[in-house]
């Protein structure tokens, strides 16, 4: 598979020679059908502009075929898949990625951020997803590849977007793709559905308390202090408050994921009626895979704040869940004394 190097519009022939070597410049220019001129960057972009004018829109089938030939290099595959219409036209005409020139296999250059051709095959899931989108819509969403890709389909070519055939939509980057969200660290398990759901955030704070209830012995006279009779312990009742944004899941707040979390929590306030049987849910709040509290949900409240999203609803939510502990095994002095940090 050939490698590609990025070319800026003001790149000179001397700069290109420094990258590929003076002895290889002839082969590089010949492969890309470029003349031996000083302002090589300008020529590359002139060629690209000409390819947009000469050729019509590239069909989805043609895109599919071209991508199939690039599966040997995942970075080339990704760059090509996320090209805009101008980029696809150039790819179709001379096989060059927009803003890049090909390097012959015989030329060895150092890998850098401006060099494509990593020799890593495209993962099967990414390939299948990409090809499906190409076939159906002709464009690929950036989150097909991974959340940490910095290649954004906001127009990989520097050409003017006022060209009549450039109908590329700008796909927004995910707002939270550069934030490390603790997915999988905090989750709520429900016994009624035997499923759990992940929170994108930790609770704001965790305040825990345990208590004991004593009665005083009545009608005793002349006691310096009342007699305390142990009644019971608990209940251990805690409220966990989570603050999150509806974009935290996929970057598109219309995905319904935040609502899924909220309704999962609220549903645990209601039982399942099965004929004459009434089944209630016991929930477990897990932190890093460890049980923090198991019990019943007695209160779920949501407070919404601005901004307003594209679907007309608020984006920022404060979700509070109150769980009253129902211990899975009898608690006594020795057991509580030996509990771990999370538990």
């Amino acid at each position: 598979m050939p490698k590609f190097i990025k070319v800026s519009p003001d790149m000179t022939l001397e700069e290109l020679k420094q990258i590929v070597g003076s002895q290889n410049i002839g082969a590089v220019l010949a492969l890309n059908n470029l003349p031996y001129v000083a302002n090589i960057g300008e020529k590359v972009f002139e060629q690209a502009t000409a390819s947009m004018i000469d050729h019509g829109k590239v069909s989805n089938q043609r895109k599919y075929t071209m991508l199939n030939g690039m599966t040997g290099d995942s970075d080339v595959f990704e760059t090509a898949a996320m090209s805009d219409e101008a980029g696809w036209r150039q790819l179709n005409k001379n096989g060059n990625l927009p803003g890049y020139i090909k390097i012959p296999d015989t030329v060895t250059i150092a890998d850098s951020v401006n060099v494509l051709g990593n020799g890593v095959s495209v993962p099967k899931t990414v390939y299948a997803d990409t090809m499906k989108q190409i076939k159906e819509t002709g464009t690929v969403s950036p989150d097909t590849f991974n959340y940490y890709s910095f290649i954004v389909n906001t127009g990989t070519t520097p050409y003017q977007s006022d060209l009549p055939w450039n109908d590329t939509k700008t796909i927004n980057t995910k707002t939270f793709q550069n934030f490390k969200l603790p997915w999988g660290d905090v989750s709520l398990y429900s016994s009624l559905s035997d499923s759990k759901i992940d929170f994108p955030v930790y609770p704001e704070t965790v305040s825990d308390k345990r208590k004991a209830n004593y009665n005083t012995m009545p009608d005793l006279l002349y006691q310096y202090e009342p007699w305390q009779l142990y009644q019971s312990s608990g209940p251990r009742e805690n409220t966990y408050t989570f603050k999150f944004h509806r974009d935290m899941w996929t970057g598109d707040h219309r995905d319904g994921k935040a609502n899924e979390l909220i309704r999962f929590c609220e549903a645990n306030c209601y039982p399942n009626y099965d004929g004459s049987t009434v089944n209630t849910s016991t929930v477990t709040l897990l932190v890093k895979g460890r049980k923090l509290i198991t019990g019943v949900v007695t209160d779920v409240s949501t407070d919404w704040e601005e901004p307003i999203g594209l679907d007309g609803w608020y984006l920022f939510c404060t979700l509070s869940i109150t769980i009253v502990e129902v211990a899975s095994e009898p608690l006594n002095y020795r057991k509580v004394k030996s509990l771990p940090l999370i538990g």
Partner: protein
């Protein structure tokens, strides 16, 4: 006449892409000067190495006029070289052909050092209208002193650097 200077210029232009990738001795002087500065009478514009290295990006009208004077003078020198008079090319024109005078397209370190010498150092080492004005003043002063009839320059030619250094030591 086969001047060593022409060979050096041809080698440089071939390396940089201003001339085709052929052995330098196969390049004629006409091609060499054409690559340096050529004039298109249809569009009335200049092109070539000089225009790339010393572009006319000045906003000041005076500097625009000075630039046009300089480029026209250089072109006349080239025309005169190929005329029956066979006037030799002045050394300072050869310096432009080699890219020696400092401009906005020069090497950053050279540009910075020149701007510091000129007393016009700025955070981004930009060669702008003020720099061009200062160069013109220094150049005019030097050429008047040496009774040279050529047009003054708005770039960092060697004589501008020389005059600044002489001023530094108060000569």
């Amino acid at each position: 006449m086969n001047l060593p200077m022409h060979d050096i210029i041809k080698i440089q232009y071939i390396r940089q892409g201003y001339l085709p990738d052929v052995p330098y001795h196969m390049v004629s002087d006409e091609e060499m000067f054409d690559a340096f500065l050529s004039y298109d009478s249809d569009t009335q514009t200049y092109s070539g190495y000089f225009v790339d290295m010393y572009p006319n990006k000045f906003k000041d009208a005076d500097n625009q006029v000075r630039y046009n004077s300089l480029i026209n003078y250089i072109y006349e020198c080239i025309v005169a070289y190929f005329s029956e008079l066979k006037v030799s090319i002045p050394d300072w024109v050869y310096s432009y052909m080699l890219g020696v005078p400092i401009s906005d397209r020069s090497n950053l370190q050279d540009k910075h050092n020149f701007l510091v010498l000129l007393g016009m150092s700025n955070p981004y080492d930009i060669f702008d209208d003020n720099t061009a004005n200062a160069c013109y003043e220094v150049s005019t002063k030097y050429l008047k002193r040496t009774n040279d009839n050529r047009v003054p320059t708005i770039f960092g030619e060697p004589h501008v650097i020389k005059e600044l250094r002489l001023t530094e030591v108060s000569v």
